[in-house]
């Protein structure tokens, strides 16, 4: 950018010495990275669309009973076998029609939300903790610790993510939410570790960190007060964007019969069952698939907005 960007510089090159008696001028308030990011976010329609979607989805996940009174597991084959949707019956059990076991698709879509979001948030939290910790250790201490962790990251990264997770999950017969979360975390932590490692190395080399070290700050203080806050942004960005991907991964695994096991309700399982009768009954596939896409979309859009807001380079 031309000269305009540097108008708030304090000392000018010519005057060299810092102005001791700074005249009170109406300079705009300098914004911090986070303040700036929030300013950016507020002005993005994408952020608000995703935020509203997410609030609704979280409400559904927390209180599915508010949205439907139908039992998602009870099927009525005689009356409702693959009944078509009644698109005007808002919030009624037959709104989205019935599946091949005579169960309300609307109720199943609503009740499947919790598991999807639990897996997405759970894996993101676990992966951020594990990958963030390993990446920080590698980046901050360097040397042997860095070599060991980096090679470990390379090895875990080397196995195709979805394939490896399938192998892990296949070993378990009763796959509850936590099992799926742990399996996805097992190979999923590597990208966060890599990103955190490189941003910690960058932050470590910054002048203010060198200054803090020269002033004798302790290792823990250095890590948590100086390095971590400044290395956090890229990690947050990667984690937010990945969240949608984990929800998608859970559905994919469930679709393959290697994700959550019944009676847990998963959109992936429903899509898998519906796919067998797709030619005559596309509705049984469309609604869970649409809800799944919408959820992933909301999270990915949020991640995208956060990334744009936190990365001043893109402005």
């Amino acid at each position: 950018m031309p000269d305009t960007s540097s108008t708030t510089l304090t000392a000018t090159e010519e005057t060299a010495a810092a102005p001791a008696d700074v005249v009170k001028t109406e300079q705009r308030k300098p914004r911090s990275l986070w303040g700036d990011a929030w300013f950016e976010l507020r002005h993005r329609p994408m952020f608000w669309v995703s935020a509203i979607l997410l609030v609704i989805l979280l409400l559904i996940a927390a209180f599915p009973g508010l949205f439907t009174s139908a039992d998602p597991t009870k099927g009525d084959l005689t009356n409702h076998f693959l009944s078509k949707p009644e698109l005007t019956h808002f919030f009624q059990p037959d709104w989205f029609g019935y599946d091949g076991q005579g169960r309300s698709i609307y109720a199943r879509v609503i009740h499947g939300t919790r598991n999807s979001i639990l897996v997405g948030v759970g894996v993101t939290a676990a992966v951020t903790f594990l990958g963030g910790l390993l990446g920080m250790l590698a980046g901050y201490f360097g040397g042997l610790i860095d070599s060991v962790i980096s090679r470990l990251t390379d090895i875990f990264f080397g196995i195709p993510f979805l394939l490896g997770t399938m192998v892990v999950l296949n070993a378990f017969t009763d796959r509850k939410v936590y099992v799926v979360v742990l399996a996805l975390t097992f190979l999923g932590w590597t990208s966060i570790a890599r990103v955190t490692r490189s941003s910690v190395i960058t932050a470590k080399q910054a002048d203010y960190v060198t200054a803090a070290r020269a002033l004798g700050a302790s290792t823990t203080r250095m890590l948590f007060r100086h390095v971590m806050p400044n290395a956090l942004a890229p990690t947050i960005v990667v984690a937010t964007i990945a969240l949608g991907g984990y929800i998608s991964a859970e559905a994919t695994l469930s679709y393959l019969g290697l994700g959550l096991s019944e009676p847990a309700i998963s959109w992936g399982i429903d899509i898998s069952e519906a796919s067998k009768a797709i030619r005559d009954n596309p509705h049984a596939l469309m609604f869970p698939a649409g809800m799944l896409t919408l959820t992933v979309f909301a999270f990915i859009m949020l991640g995208d907005a956060v990334r744009d807001a936190l990365d001043p380079k893109l402005r």
Binding site: V168, N170, S248, I278, F297
Partner: protein
């Protein structure tokens, strides 16, 4: 350049050993007994189980199994499937199919992804840019299996434009639909990455210099911008090959392609360790080789790496 290649080659060895060991351990240490599972719910004859276990070397300690496996591997022996066939034979049938599928998908990914991304990047902030951004976000949000069924349902079943199943994997027309579905996710990422690097490099100082030199726009974009912008895109495409294999499991299942993805999926369901480890080992090798090629290509494109 030669030394650079040699160094990268050496660095690959521990990763190869580590990755194969990891998948080996995952297959053999995790709970579940594949031999016992062959009987399903029926009662198994303990003597038969023990015999089978011995035949497949499953009664040995894991480290010995791994070393034996690796030693055999280097003589071209990947072990046997539970059905008694040589794993290597099964793989040589399936790999070319997936190779064709993946190559076609990567071609689609490169042409559409870079094209869309470059278009959006040059129009940064305009309607075309927002359109491409939202389109790619949507594509990323639709899980591959949903996209696969949708594409199959609409393009093959309803409209009848393309065949729903792949009978002959050497027929590119038949392979197009699965390749397209397989390519979509990566294509969206490539488009977004290209857009970002284009928009970023558009503001680079050397672009201002190129403008000040009085170069025509075609040359500024085609030589100065493209060369710099493609470096991260090529790296991404290289590292994404693993993702293609994961996607192939889904796509091959939906379109009934008899490739490596289908083979792996069946092997995982039956806990057929020899096939899983064999296929993954070959995949890891392929990925490592591709990464090496990408690294070398990177060095060709970016002289700062070459002379570092």
């Amino acid at each position: 350049m030669g030394r650079y290649a040699a160094r990268r080659l050496l660095q690959m060895i521990p990763i190869f050993v580590g990755t194969t060991l990891l998948i080996f351990l995952m297959v053999h240490i995790l709970p579940g007994d594949p031999i016992r599972a062959m009987w399903g719910d029926k009662a198994a004859d303990p003597a038969q189980v023990a015999a089978l276990r011995h035949e497949f070397g499953l009664d040995q300690p894991v480290w010995k199994q791994y070393i034996d496996y690796m030693l055999n591997l280097f003589q071209g022996d990947f072990g046997k499937t539970f059905g008694g066939r040589q794993v290597i034979d099964v793989m040589t049938e399936a790999f070319p199919v997936t190779l064709r599928l993946t190559l076609l998908a990567i071609t689609i990914e490169i042409i559409v992804g870079i094209g869309l991304g470059a278009w959006a990047g040059l129009k940064a902030g305009k309607a075309a840019d927002s359109g491409v951004l939202i389109f790619t976000l949507l594509v990323i949000s639709i899980p591959v299996f949903v996209l696969g069924y949708l594409a199959r349902f609409v393009l093959a079943d309803e409209l009848g434009w393309l065949p729903p199943n792949v009978q002959d994997s050497t027929n590119l027309a038949e392979l197009f639909l699965p390749a397209f579905v397989l390519a979509m996710l990566s294509m969206a990422y490539v488009a977004r990455l290209t857009r970002t690097t284009f928009a970023e490099n558009l503001r680079a100082d050397y672009m201002r210099t190129a403008l000040a030199k009085g170069l025509p726009r075609r040359r500024i974009v085609g030589v100065h911008l493209l060369r710099n912008s493609l470096i991260p895109v090529i790296t991404f495409i290289g590292t994404d090959v693993g993702g293609f294999i994961g996607g192939a499991v889904i796509t091959e299942g939906i379109f009934n392609v008899q490739g490596i993805g289908n083979l792996l999926f069946r092997a995982i369901q039956t806990s057929e360790g020899s096939t899983i480890v064999g296929v993954v080992t070959v995949l890891v090798l392929v990925i490592l080789v591709i990464n090496l090629v990408i690294d070398l290509l990177y060095a060709v494109l970016d002289p700062r790496i070459r002379y570092a």
